[in-house]
């Protein structure tokens, strides 16, 4: 079975390296286009579409389980992210935020679901695309509302004495148009990458200790595996937090672009 091989835990040397993030193609010769990562990304898209369609196919006043989950997710992003960060206007962005949040949550969760255990977001390409969408979105919204010149003026010229402006304008430009998309994508990527790496260190470290020559190191492998279990719970926290942070930052950038004054 090709698939079971690709999904099996990779047997590798103890200090895990970046190689772990490049599993072989699921079908021979389909290397960049059909790997575990692309399959998981499409799976996440499919699961989310089907889930929301099924949950809302027959909405009831007293919601069932699926409808309750869908409504909680939507209600959370709408009330606690969109409305709180952007204000009343934010409601129209709630559908996008919900989609983004669901996609991030599911793709990140793949990192700790048994037998999948890697998140597509631990490849920089996926977070970069999501960050590019947010970047284009907040710039487009700002330019559409104020026009290019006024938008640039709003976002680059803070209310400050004129003599400090030559210093502030480059800093503002750097932080708004360069650092924002880079950190937005890099944060998610690095969290998923580091999370997977930490779990690998403790899981493979357990095997390395078990296979050690010194007999007194063998029982220590249990400690290493217990650490891996504990860190999986930490990883669950990080997953939810990073999905939330990504959406909150996107909404905060949009609210900054739409705000009247700096």
């Amino acid at each position: 079975m090709v698939i079971s091989q690709a999904f099996a835990v990779p047997r590798s040397d103890f200090p895990p390296s970046v190689k772990e993030f490049f599993p072989p193609a699921l079908v021979d010769g389909a290397y960049p286009w059909l790997t575990k990562f692309t399959l998981l990304a499409w799976l996440a898209v499919g699961v989310i579409i089907v889930f929301y369609l099924v949950a809302y196919r027959d909405p009831k006043i007293v919601p069932g389980k699926a409808q309750w989950i869908a409504e909680s997710l939507y209600g959370f992003t709408r009330e606690n992210i969109a409305k709180e960060m952007i204000g009343h206007e934010g409601v129209k962005f709630a559908p996008y935020f919900t989609t983004l949040f669901s996609f991030l949550l599911l793709t990140n969760l793949f990192g700790i679901i048994p037998f999948i255990q890697i998140s597509p977001n631990s490849h920089i390409a996926f977070p970069v695309m999501l960050a590019v969408i947010s970047y284009v979105m907040f710039n487009y919204l700002g330019i559409r509302r104020y026009g290019f010149v006024k938008y640039m003026k709003n976002s680059l010229i803070p209310p400050a004495p004129w003599f400090i402006l030559p210093l502030l304008i480059p800093i503002e430009f750097f932080s708004t148009f360069i650092v924002r998309p880079v950190t937005l994508s890099l944060r998610l990527f690095a969290n998923m990458f580091a999370g997977h790496m930490i779990l690998l260190v403790f899981t493979l470290g357990g095997f390395a200790l078990l296979g050690a020559d010194a007999w007194f190191l063998k029982p220590v492998s249990v400690v290493s595996w217990l650490m891996a279990v504990a860190l999986t719970f930490l990883e669950a926290l990080v997953i939810v937090l990073q999905s939330y942070v990504f959406v909150v930052l996107t909404s905060s950038y949009i609210s900054g672009a739409l705000a009247e004054e700096h």
């Binding site: 200090p15 709180e84 944060r187 690095a190 937090l241 942070v245």
Partner: protein, 73 residues
Amino acid sequence: MLLAEVNGSLSAIGYGLAAIGPGIGVGIIFAAYIQSTARQPESGRITLPYVWIGFAVVEALALLGIAFGFVFK
């Protein structure tokens, strides 16, 4: 005579040093949030999004450290 040998990457030590600053920063952010909520419990919900934004911005530095540890090999 070779008594001890260390091998591996120096970037692990570099990352440890780089994580000190963000560690202190994240600590300060949550300390400030706890203190402000203890002083004025009603403000807890209002300041929470800013806690996460501040946390994310400060934590980005530590994560840049992880990424660049692999870049500048």
